[in-house]
């Protein structure tokens, strides 16, 4: 048992204060979402809810911004991007790790170079291109399906996933790979039956990372989507903030609903995320 010295006491006090400061907004969004309108705007402020007031959640789901529909839009958009990036990244990472071809390292360098281009530098041409497309005589973004296509199209592939999976694939023993080839195991069979099952942790890390960043997208979804029912949840809650400014409890209820999936990932999937997110930091 360690003695509680003055130094350790200070350590604890500073840590607890820092933790309170960091957690406070998290607490406030949940506590505020179950406070009655009178309580949340009371002065001096009241930090602890008196019982559970569900009116904010009812209000958030029936207000001018259709949160339920936007939730579905976000789930659809995020799922398409995640599945697509997993597939495109696996294919490219496989080629870079196992296939001999001319100019492979130069091409890989070019792939990584795409990560250096900030989205904001290329968003305008992409906007002009995609909103300029027509499908069946009308603008692509005039229909629900078209809006969804516009939302996901630029993000169907990303070099970060390729980089991470290639790192993971390269650790596969070459002898085993050669043995499989000699036994007549082709590329597809090897990929599906042997390589992917053995790389589940890396695939999970990439999947969670892509999911989080797609779910949290803001700039592009702000530009795409003409009507409230076609917007993503992120845009929805920011508009809730503009429209319902006088009713903070309702806004916080909307935010609470929107963070459920990502909060679950951070609390339960932390170790996978750490793998994925820190892969670039450790050489």
């Amino acid at each position: 048992m360690r003695r509680l010295t003055a130094g350790r006491l200070i350590t604890y006090v500073v840590l607890i204060l820092a933790a309170l400061a960091v957690i406070f907004p998290v607490y406030y969004v949940i506590a505020g979402s179950i406070m009655s309108p009178g309580q949340i705007s009371s002065y001096p402020p009241d930090l602890f809810p008196h019982g559970i007031f569900t009116g904010n959640y009812k209000g958030a789901s029936s207000s001018g911004t259709p949160i339920g529909q936007q939730y579905l839009n976000s789930i659809l958009q995020t799922s398409i991007i995640t599945v697509s990036q997993l597939i495109t990244s696996v294919l490219a990472a496989y080629a870079f790790a196992f296939m001999k071809m001319w100019g492979r390292s130069v091409l890989f360098g070019l792939f990584l170079a795409t990560l250096m281009v900030p989205w904001e530098s290329i968003v305008l041409p992409n906007y002009l291109t995609i909103t300029g497309w027509e499908l069946g005589g009308q603008r692509l973004t005039a229909t629900y399906a078209g809006t969804m296509i516009a939302l996901v199209l630029p993000f169907l592939a990303n070099a970060f996933g390729v980089f991470l999976l290639r790192q993971s694939f390269l650790q596969f023993p070459t002898e085993l790979r050669d043995a499989a080839t000699i036994d007549g195991c082709g590329h597809w069979r090897f990929l599906r039956r042997i390589l992917l099952p053995l790389n589940k942790p890396a695939l999970t890390a990439v999947g969670l990372y892509v999911f989080l960043s797609a779910w949290n997208q803001f700039f592009w979804p702000l530009l795409i989507g003409d009507s409230a029912s076609r917007r993503t949840l992120q845009i929805g809650i920011s508009q809730l903030n503009d429209v319902e400014a006088a009713d903070p409890g309702l806004i916080l209820a909307g935010v609470t609903l929107s963070i459920v999936p990502t909060l679950a990932i951070v609390i339960f999937g932390q170790r996978f995320i750490v793998r994925g997110l820190t892969a670039g930091a450790i050489r």
């Binding site: 840590l15 530098s121 992409n126 169907l156 803001f218 920011s238 929107s258 050489r283």
Partner: protein
């Protein structure tokens, strides 16, 4: 097998990059489509204008106000967590929580807290007899308020990365230090911090890139680029020039987009040149 990636990159990254350069050399019509070739006119206008110098200054200030507190705060927290404290798992999860918040959700929460009339920030300060602060309406506070939100969002990630870095330090090194009588803060200063070099360097580079690209928190907290344009960063200005109030000046906005790309590349190159040489890799 490379084809799917190549198609996406070519269509939505490489080609638009060339197109951005071309747009920046043209004027735009009412709908943002390029018309007459104007050469370097947009760049000349930009570099000669006091407004653009102000935008660059705000961008620079925003990077400083977010990267330094974010990385230092993360470092202090992680070093404290290393002092064999109890309940370390609870603390770790607590510090990782902001990571679950999207830029939109974090900004909306802080908008509620900063609300001048009924917001919590002024309410709590009022209890201590402090006057109301115009968090988002006072030109000298707006950028600070947006930065506080940004630091809060980044601290979870910084703690995760630095914790992983500390976990990778071999136990023998710490044992040797303890045997030699270096405990607590001396060990942190002379052993842990130098060995965290790669992670700290990575965080500085990544945070700078992210701050330069910060948009959602500025758009949500200060919809018009802040009082007296005090939060109008380069990325916000790109958006504003192209989309706000039907401006549709895609030519000028593209010139700013190219400047953003150049600043980002130069910043990253400088950080690699200056900082990386001082980083100790195992």
């Amino acid at each position: 097998m490379l084809v799917p990636c190549l198609v996406v990159f070519a269509l939505f990254i490489v080609w638009p990059l060339g197109k951005s350069v071309s747009l920046s050399l043209h004027g735009s019509d009412l709908f943002g489509r390029p018309d007459a070739f104007v050469g370097l006119q947009h760049y000349r206008d930009m570099l000669g204008s006091a407004e653009f110098r102000h935008i660059l200054w705000v961008t620079f200030a925003f990077v400083l106000l977010t990267v330094i507190p974010g990385v230092l705060g993360g470092l202090v927290i992680v070093l404290l967590l290393e002092q064999h404290i109890k309940g370390i798992r609870i603390f770790r999860t607590a510090f990782a929580l902001p990571f679950a918040f999207s830029v939109a959700s974090a900004s909306v929460i802080f908008a509620t807290i900063y609300n001048p009339a009924i917001g919590l920030a002024n309410g709590l300060l009022g209890r201590f007899g402090v006057d109301r602060i115009g968090w988002l309406t006072d030109p000298s506070w707006a950028l600070i308020s947006v930065s506080i939100t940004t630091v809060w969002m980044s601290i979870g990630y910084n703690v995760l990365v630095l914790s992983a870095g500390i976990g990778a330090i071999p136990a023998e090194i710490n044992e040797a230090a303890t045997l030699d009588g270096a405990g607590g803060w001396r060990a942190s200063r002379h052993i842990t911090i130098p060995l965290l070099g790669p992670q700290l360097f990575f965080l500085i580079v990544i945070s700078t890139i992210q701050s330069l690209q910060g948009f959602g928190q500025i758009k949500i907290l200060t919809p018009e680029g802040g009082p007296e344009q005090s939060t109008k960063t380069l990325v916000y200005s790109i958006y504003h020039t192209a989309f706000a109030n039907n401006a549709s000046d895609f030519g000028a906005a593209s010139a700013q987009a190219i400047v953003l790309l150049v600043i980002l590349l130069v910043c990253t190159a400088v950080q690699f040149g200056v900082l990386e040489r001082r980083v100790h890799y195992k």
